[in-house]
């Protein structure tokens, strides 16, 4: 393994990579042990720390222009486990560490421990599992070993599923159970692929594997199984059935995290799989299949969103559609236009994370203030709670892909790449998806901004409105990402055209 040695020379500052995983994991254990109000305190106190780690990792990568590497326990792969961070990992880490505190600040009202300090079920579970999601996502973004990433996937499932049914209503229990079933299916198929890859090459390290992978039956089957499993967890059409009831029924703060971040975790692994593990596979056909499914998701998800009667379900179906866009990058991300398509896909993941979190938090405020979230009953609500609807509208701007918004930048890059690649059909789908998104947002916003102000059960708290607005503004601000940002995304990305080798 001498030729591999350079890949595992732990880079300076590499030990930083373990911290965003270990610190929230320790937080989970402590929160559960101490219970009561301590869970909330620990969760909120660790969030800025997590942001610090993310920024430190990003700046180290930026300064060196190289991915960060850390070998755990001094046991170098293939025997041991390595952590790696490239530009994409760092960006996702920073995004997570920004959305988590937003959800946390918003959730303080809903998940407060009573003043006498008695431990309550929902707060303890929420704050503990929120940190577990943080740990799991960090591991997904940093993991360099496919089995270690399986553990990360399971961590994510165990952290996310109970959040869906936190209020214990029967329909949320059914939604959580369905979610769990899809997630288990996904994890098992992923694991089966891992077994085949180990059987073929005797290593699960991403870098070592990528050097050895050849197009042979075991690899194709492994790739198919792992992709299918991860698609079920990402809820790409037609495996999306679990997502709308799960995301629509969870508490708003949890929905924001689930829709904004958790589905991006498994998407991130699909990107890792095809771009970092399997760059040697001819990816034209699989890429086209993924993009075709993505297109179907955009059209079906948007059409279903148009027909929903509840705001949270509409937003959840729009997640199904927006996930579809993520997969348009796959057939485009090889060849000279690859950097553009890759940037577009990442930009879509980021802008959707911020926009969707903002929209779910807004929808939560609307539901709390009006006592319902029926779209038919939203008339005039926008006048009663303008800041909430501003956040909702700005988030929607990004979903539609109108400038200025991160969604616009993402869709513009993807469209440019598809036209340059001569693959017009994706561009047409994106245009149609944008129109449909306009349609379903119009259904919500138009009546809300006209008509008489309804009587609110309780006006939303300004600080919580500001949280939603800040997220929506972040989605807008992504439109102004400088070129250096896109250069940063390319750090550590396997050379485009590795497939031609």
């Amino acid at each position: 393994m001498t030729e591999g040695a350079s890949a595992f020379a732990a880079t300076a500052g590499g030990s930083l990579l373990a911290l965003p995983i270990l610190v929230p994991a320790a937080g989970v254990l402590l929160s559960f042990l101490l219970g009561g109000r301590q869970a909330e305190r620990i969760a909120l106190a660790l969030m800025p720390v997590q942001f610090g780690f993310a920024v430190a990792i990003a700046s180290l990568i930026w300064r060196s222009g190289q991915p960060l590497v850390y070998v755990l326990g001094g046991y170098a792969p293939p025997l041991g486990i390595a952590l790696r961070a490239d530009g994409f990992s760092a960006v996702m880490l920073v995004t997570t560490s920004l959305i988590m505190p937003a959800a946390g600040l918003y959730a303080r009202t809903n998940f407060a421990t009573p003043n006498d300090g008695t431990e309550r079920r929902a707060p303890l579970v929420f704050w503990t599992l929120l940190q577990a999601i943080q740990a799991a996502l960090s591991l997904i973004f940093l993991g360099g070993d496919l089995f270690n990433l399986y553990v990360a996937l399971e961590l994510l499932t165990f952290a996310a599923a109970p959040l869906v049914c936190l209020d214990g209503r029967p329909e949320t229990l059914a939604a959580a159970l369905r979610y769990l079933m899809f997630a288990l299916f996904g994890a098992l198929f992923y694991l089966l692929g891992v077994a085949l890859l180990y059987g073929a090459y005797g290593t699960l390290d991403i870098v070592l594997l990528s050097r050895q992978i050849r197009a042979e039956p075991a690899v194709w089957l492994a790739a198919g199984l792992m992709t299918a499993g991860l698609l079920a967890k990402t809820a790409l059409f037609p495996l999306h059935l679990w997502l709308p009831p799960a995301h629509a029924n969870a508490p708003a703060a949890a929905s924001a995290v689930l829709s904004g971040l958790v589905v991006k975790g498994s998407f991130f692994l699909i990107v890792r799989l095809w771009f970092n593990v399997l760059p040697a596979l001819p990816n034209a056909v699989p890429g086209a299949i993924l993009a075709a499914l993505g297109s179907a998701a955009i059209l079906a998800g948007s059409a279903l969103a148009l027909r929903q009667e509840r705001l949270k379900l509409l937003i959840a179906y729009s997640t199904v559609a927006q996930i579809g866009y993520l997969f348009l990058m796959f057939p485009l991300a090889s060849g000279p236009w690859s950097a553009e398509a890759f940037s577009g896909g990442v930009m879509q993941a980021l802008s959707h994370a911020f926009a969707k979190a903002a929209m779910f938090l807004s929808a939560g405020l609307i539901a709390e203030s009006l006592g319902h979230d029926r779209i038919a009953g939203l008339g005039g609500a926008g006048r009663a709670m303008p800041v909430t609807f501003l956040a909702l509208g700005l988030g929607g701007l990004s979903l539609m892909g109108l400038p200025p918004s991160g969604g616009f930048a993402a869709k513009w890059l993807l469209m440019k790449a598809s036209i340059e690649a001569g693959q017009w059909v994706w561009a047409v789908v994106m245009l149609a998806g944008g129109l449909l998104a306009g349609g379903y947002l119009y259904r919500v916003l138009a009546p809300a901004l006209s008509g008489n102000r309804p009587r609110l059960k309780s006006p939303p708290r300004r600080s919580r409105e500001n949280v939603a607005l800040a997220l929506a503004l972040a989605a807008v601000l992504l439109a102004f990402a400088p070129p250096t940002f896109f250069a940063f995304l390319q750090i550590g990305r396997p050379a485009a055209g590795a497939a031609l080798r």
Partner: protein, 114 residues
């Protein structure tokens, strides 16, 4: 045919059987059973990989074996969570079902039902 290959074929068959159970049986408990079948099929694939990696005086590669042990424990925890969800659902509704429309009721209706 070596016993390792035979075990691998059984593993493949178990994955197929389990997958059928997961798709075709509407009852959550039967689905959980089927998931466990898929799981053990996957573990058997690890098992033959380990057996075929016999070397250095060991009759099987220890790394995949360790992964299976980790996997069995995780699979148990997953079963426990799924069973707890199923039982709670049964207590609340008198039936255990995964019907997709079970989740589309507006929240105020659900609050009444409670």
């Amino acid at each position: 045919m070596s016993s390792a290959t035979l075990a691998g074929l059984v593993g493949a068959a178990l994955v197929g059987l389990g997958l059928y159970g997961v798709i075709a049986d509407p009852q959550p408990l039967r689905k959980i059973l089927a998931f466990n079948l898929i799981g053990s099929g996957v573990f058997l694939v690890f098992g033959i990989v380990a057996r075929k990696g016999a070397a250095a005086g060991l009759s099987a590669d220890p790394v995949p074996q360790a992964m299976v042990i980790t996997g069995i424990v995780v699979a148990f925890a997953a079963s426990a969570l799924a069973v707890a969800l199923t039982l709670r659902l049964f207590e609340e509704t008198g039936r255990a079902t995964l019907r997709p429309d079970a989740g589309t009721k507006p929240p105020d209706d659900g609050a009444d039902a409670e």
